[in-house]
Symmetry: C2
DNA sequence: TGGTTTGTCCGAAACGTTTCGGATTTTGGC
DNA sequence: GCCAAAATCCGAAACGTTTCGGACAAACCA
C-alpha cells in the first residue's frame, strides 16, 4: 500500500509538497506538481481516508439510520426507494453512505450519538422512526447535523423533508366528495407517526370543506399493516354499512381494505370506493388498480441528502423541504349515485 | 469530543492503561479498570474508529458495490432484499456497511481497488454486475476479500453465493412437462449474466430429461426487462403458435409475457402456461398469479455477508454457498390436453 | 544597492488510537 | 530476608495525512 511518503521519496520532495500538490494548492511549481502526479499514478497511490478523516475531523461520510431494512418490511417499497434517492445524491456529491442498524438488540445499547461519533459521520439521515423513539430526542439534543424524513422537527442542526401530508389527504377526500361520496371512513396508521396525524388533519379538513361532519367512529388504526387493516375494515364496514368510501393512509392498508371488501362480498368500486396513499408498485397491480395519493419516494431521499450536504457545507440555511403529492386516479374509485 | 487522553488525565493513569483497560487486557488491575470504565462513561466517551482503523489497518467495515440501486430498478425488488439480508448479518456481527456506487460517471473513473483502498473496507460484496464488467476482472486480480452474488468465481480472496440456477430452471421445465406440455419456449435474460447461462443449461437439461429436442429458435433474450420481454414474446408467440408454455428467467419478464399473451388474445393459463423466476412480490399479485421458481433473496444477502465475515476472520476456508430454489405453483400454469 | 514581494519548498506538530518493550512494585517461596 | 516471578503500569513510536509557520531564493521596485 503506497503512501504519501513513498511518493515523496521517489519524487525527491517532502511529504508536505506531495500533499499540497495532490490537493491542488498553488504554492507548488507546475513542473514538480506534474511529476508528483505522475509518480502517484505510477505507484498506484490512493489516499487513506481514515488518516485524512482523522486530521480533518470529518469523514465525507453520511450515516443512515433506518428501521425498514429487514425481512418483514420487504413488501413495503418505501424504504428502498428513499434509500435509492439518498444514494444517488450522495454519490453525486462524492460522499459515502454508511448504514446503521437500529433493530438489533446489540445496537440498541448504543445511543444515537455514540453511533455517530464512533463512525465519525459528518451527518445523518433518519427514516422510519416513530415519534416516541428514544433516538428522536437524542437527535434534537445532539449537535450532529441530521435530516429527518417525514418528521417535521427543526433546529440549528436538524432539518427535515416530507411531503405535504395534510394536502395529500385533503386531495383524497376532495376526490371522493367530487364523486358524490358523503359517508367517508378512514383507515389511519397509528398515533406515533407524524404522517398519520397530518393525514388525519387533512382528512378532517377535506370533510369540513365539503360540509360534512367528522365522525371519529369512522376512523380506525391499521398500523400500516395489511392484515390489521383488513380486520379493522371488516369490522368497520360490517358495523356501518352506510359507508361508501374509505381513505387509507397507506396503499398496503388499502390492499387490506380491498381484501376485507372482497371477504364481505362488497364490490369495489361499485359499492365501495377505496383510495390509498404512497403509490407503491403494488397499487397499479391490485385488482382493481388502486386510486392513490402518490408521493415521490425517490425524490424524498434525494432531497434529504441534498439538504444535508448543503447544511454540512454551510451553503444554505434552509432546513425544510416539502414535496408535493399527486392524485393518481385508477379503478378503485367511482361515482356514488345513491 | 472526549478522547482516551482525557480519560487518562481524569483517572490519573496513562493512555496505555486506558486503552488496555477498555479493550479487556488482563494486565490491568481490576480496581483501576473499573475506575477507568466509570470515568469513560462519565465523560461520555466513544472511541474514534478512524484512529483505531488507522493503526489496526482494518475498519470493521464492509463495502457494497451494487448496480441495482437507482430509480429505474425500483420495480425489481431483488437488490433491496439482498441488501436487507446483508445488512442484517453485518449488523449482527458488529460490522458496518458502506455503499459504493458504480453507475455515476464520476465514480467510474475510479478503479475497483481504488474504491476499496480509499475507504479501507475490510471486504466487499458485489451484486448485479455483468460478466463483462471491468470491475469483475479487477476483483479477481486484487487481493481484497470479496464475495460475488450470482457469479461463480472462486479464488483465495474471492468467494460467491448463488442459488442453484441449473436445478431451478430444470424444475420449471419438469413442472411444465408433467402438465403435459411439449412445446416449451424460454425468455432468457442476456448472455452477460451467469444466471442466464445456467438457467439456459437447466432448461436444456429439463428438455433432454423429458426426451424433447432443444430448439434455439424458441429461446429469446428479454434482458430482464418487462417491456423487451413483452415485445419478444409477442413476436415469438405469433411466429410459433404451437408453443404452449414459456419459461422466463425472471418474474418481471414473465409479467411482460403475460401482457404479450393478453395483447394477442391468448388466455393464460388455458392456452399458454407461464413460469417465472425469482418470486418477486408482484408475482402473487399478477393476474393470473404467477407460478415461479422462488429464490430466497434475503438469505442470499445474509449468506454472502456471513461468508465474507468468516473469510475476514479466518474462521473458515469455504468459499462458496449454493442455496436451493423452490417451485411455487400458482395459477399461470395448467395442464395441456391438446 | 537594499529592501520588499513573490514563488517554492519543507520541518514538525497534530489528529486518536494501539502496542512493543521495559520499568516498577508486589507477591510468593524458601 | 532474599531472589524470582507475577502483577501492574507506562513511554514512545507508529499508522497516513494535513497544515502552520517559516526558510530560501529569485524577481521586482525604488
Amino acid at each position: 500500500m503506497t503512501t504519501i511518503k513513498d511518493i515523496a521519496r521517489v519524487a525527491g520532495v517532502s511529504v508536505t509538497t506531495v500533499s499540497r500538490a495532490l490537493n491542488g494548492y498553488h504554492d507548488v511549481n507546475e513542473q514538480t506538481r506534474q511529476k508528483i502526479v505522475r509518480v502517484a499514478k505510477d505507484l498506484n497511490y490512493s489516499p487513506n481516508t481514515l488518516a485524512r478523516g482523522l486530521v480533518l475531523n470529518k469523514s465525507k461520510t453520511i450515516g443512515l439510520l433506518v428501521s425498514g431494512l429487514n425481512r418483514q418490511s420487504a413488501k413495503d417499497h418505501f424504504t428502498f426507494e428513499v434509500l435509492s434517492g439518498i444514494n444517488e445524491c450522495v454519490s453525486e456529491q462524492d460522499y459515502d453512505l454508511v448504514l446503521f442498524n437500529t433493530n438489533t438488540s446489540k445496537q440498541r445499547e448504543k445511543t444515537y450519538s455514540q453511533l455517530c461519533r464512533e463512525r465519525r459521520v459528518d451527518g445523518v439521515i433518519l427514516s422510519g422512526i416513530k415519534t416516541d423513539d428514544p433516538y428522536l430526542h437524542e437527535v434534537v439534543a445532539s449537535s450532529i447535523p441530521c435530516i429527518l424524513i417525514d418528521i417535521p422537527i427543526q433546529s440549528d442542526s436538524v432539518g427535515y423533508v416530507t411531503t405535504d401530508n395534510v394536502l395529500g389527504a385533503k386531495q383524497a377526500v376532495e376526490h371522493l366528495m367530487q364523486l358524490g361520496h358523503r359517508n367517508i371512513a378512514m383507515v389511519n396508521g397509528h398515533g406515533q407517526a407524524f404522517v398519520s396525524q397530518h393525514r388525519l388533519d387533512g382528512f378532517k379538513q377535506g370533510l369540513a370543506a365539503g360540509g360534512r361532519p367528522y365522525n371519529p367512529d369512522w376512523v380506525v388504526n391499521g398500523f400500516f399493516d395489511e392484515d390489521i387493516a383488513r380486520v379493522e375494515a371488516e369490522r368497520l364496514l360490517t358495523r356501518y354499512p352506510e359507508i361508501t368510501a374509505v381513505f387509507c393512509a397507506s396503499d398496503l392498508m388499502a390492499l387490506g381494505v380491498l381484501k376485507a371488501a372482497n371477504n364481505l362480498g362488497i364490490v369495489v368500486p361499485k359499492r365501495l370506493s377505496v383510495v390509498g396513499y404512497d403509490d407503491i408498485l403494488l397499487a397499479s397491480y391490485a385488482s382493481p388498480p388502486l386510486t392513490t395519493i402518490a408521493q415521490d419516494k425517490f425524490q424524498l431521499g434525494y432531497e434529504a441528502a441534498k439538504l444535508l450536504i448543503r447544511m454540512l457545507e454551510g451553503q444554505d440555511n434552509s432546513r425544510a423541504v416539502l414535496l408535493e403529492t399527486e392524485l393518481i386516479t385508477r379503478q378503485s374509485t367511482t361515482g356514488n349515485h345513491v
